[in-house]
Amino acid sequence: MNELAISAQGLTKQFKTRGGMVTAVENLSLRVTPGETYGLIGPDGAGKSTATRVILGLLTRTAGESSILGFDSMADSYEIRERVGYIAQQNVLPADLTVMENMRFFAGVQCVSAEAQKKRIPELLAFAGLSNFTNRLAGRLSGGMKKKLALACSLIHEPQVVMLDEPTLGVDPVSRREFWSLLGDLRAEKGLTIFVCTPYMDEAERCTQIGLLYGGKLIAAGTPTQIKGLLPGHLLEFTPAQFAAAQQRITGMEGVLELQTYGEKLHVFVDDVGARKAQIEMALAAEGIAHDDLREIEVRMEEAFISLVQQQTEKVGV
């Protein structure tokens, strides 16, 4: 057990609401080895934050077990707090404190000695690219800089594991990439275990292992390549002139495994590119539907996620 950085078995969390019991996380099991960058990926309301908080011991669990670095989430919360950094989703840094004061504040909360602070704070500020902003009020930092400061504060006690709940939410793509570059440095240079929740499907590609969470349940887990490999067949893309007519014609055709809409384009999963491409082209021609070239494209995490969710809903529907 001890070689796992994070572990959960059959973890379930229910909340009482006015409308009755709601299961936010259902029978979640995951194993994260040290040095891994684990992504818990899913849309809003999937249960990512609840799962993270239960694993951290901030919420009680209804059933199952979970631990970090071998310490039980419920029983050993002090040991966990000492060894784990956390950025909450609605993470709020004291806005009326400067960057430096924020660092000192969090150092104080984590009981970091004055001597250690002197060494670590400048290092962390340099790492986060904030060395020139030590006197700026946190409230006056840009969105991306606030996230970097939050990351620096979460590392002040030199944790072995960091748990980041949607650390890039609402941040633009440039700042998102800078943030992930910092996470890459932590992984490559310090061997830190990183657990990150995100609704951005493209961020899954940054992780070594991912779990797709939907409706409180883990619907798939593995490396990004493995997850994309779960999809059946090959993916064809094209733009029809008459969208609805094309969609209707192709649905249910032999060898068509799944149809997804993509703006003005259609994404068609087929069992065999050579055979089906010609069939689809003929069917469209027979209906008089003009279109651009049908081309095979690579499956991205988003297509995989949508497909897996659709399979899941179909299973439940039957």
């Binding site: 040095g35 960058t37 849309p43 809003d44 309301g45 999937a46 840009s142 969105g143 991306g144 609402g170 941040v171 633009d172 793509p173 440039v174 700042s175 998102r176 990439r177 992930w180 570059s181 890459g184 440095d185 992984r187 490559a188 240079e189 061997g191 609704p199 951005y200 499907m201 493209d202 590609e205 940054r206 992780c207 070594t208 490396t223 990004p224 390549t225 969208f243 997804q260 809409t261 993509y262 703006g263 003005e264 384009k265 991205r300 988003e302 996620f305 949508i306 969710v309 659709q310």
Partner: protein, 321 residues
Amino acid sequence: MSNGTGLDPQQPIVVRNLTKKFGDFVAVDNVSFAVNAGEVFGWLGPNGAGKTTTIRMLLGLLHPTSGSTHVLGLNSATQTKAMHAIVGYMSQQFTLYNDLTAAENIRFYGMVYGLSNRDLRQRQAEIIQMAGLEGREKALTSTLSGGWKQRLALGCAIVHRPKVVFLDEPTAGVDPISRRDFWTLIYAMAKEGVTVLVTTHYMDEAELCQRIGFISQGRLVALDRPGRLKQTQMRGDVLELNVSNPDLAMRILKAAQQSGQLPLDEVALYGAQIHAVVPSAEAYKEVLRALLSTAGIEVRSLERIAPTLEDVFISAVNAPA
């Protein structure tokens, strides 16, 4: 694109030499572009780049320091009222009344836009159908899920059948399946001739736009179709490396980048892979391979890959002015 010549005043959205200064700060710097009728146009850029300032000027909520914006031939700054009657606007806040039902929200917006009772009844039915809200007409808006709220907000924004629609981050916080449905609606509108200008932080959605304008530090740095941007705007090539020890390889490449030994625009971990942006794949493939092999790292594959739109934007943002 700097002098605004060649812009057709007939186009539904025309931005000409647009500049906005706040004191000494130039938020929008001599931006010109035009959007075609029935086009889905992505207006992208980092936070603080001037994206929202441009939209505010297009909507007539802010006045330009110099230059002009025209929507459907009307000057945004001087013919604001007439323009508002024929454009739609949806913000990421989904400005819906939570304590009204779905149908009541539609009727409320219809009345604000002065629709007749008959027109209102017809539009309500159309919008309920478009948003997939049949059977939920009487549901309180607060009880609807994110995807439904989003489609209802779009319906309210287009209750008066506008010819131009501005969507400011309309899909923030909505799940991927609802986002796909939403884009199907956007294209259904465009097919009927509605012109759409949309902002988003999701790169997969940027790919969905027919054309993209990208603004950085107030300047328009790229304007083209997504596919073309990837061919023309990327400085350097992206290499994808599969190696035996990615963490160690990353440290070595980073060190080489920082010491100036290798001119890497960027080097980053992508799960078990590493992406490195080099001036040219041909010239640097073997250099990288040799560097890593010397350190005892096995290079399993080293391929040039197509840049993503995000790669292109990062490259545009970091380009020397």
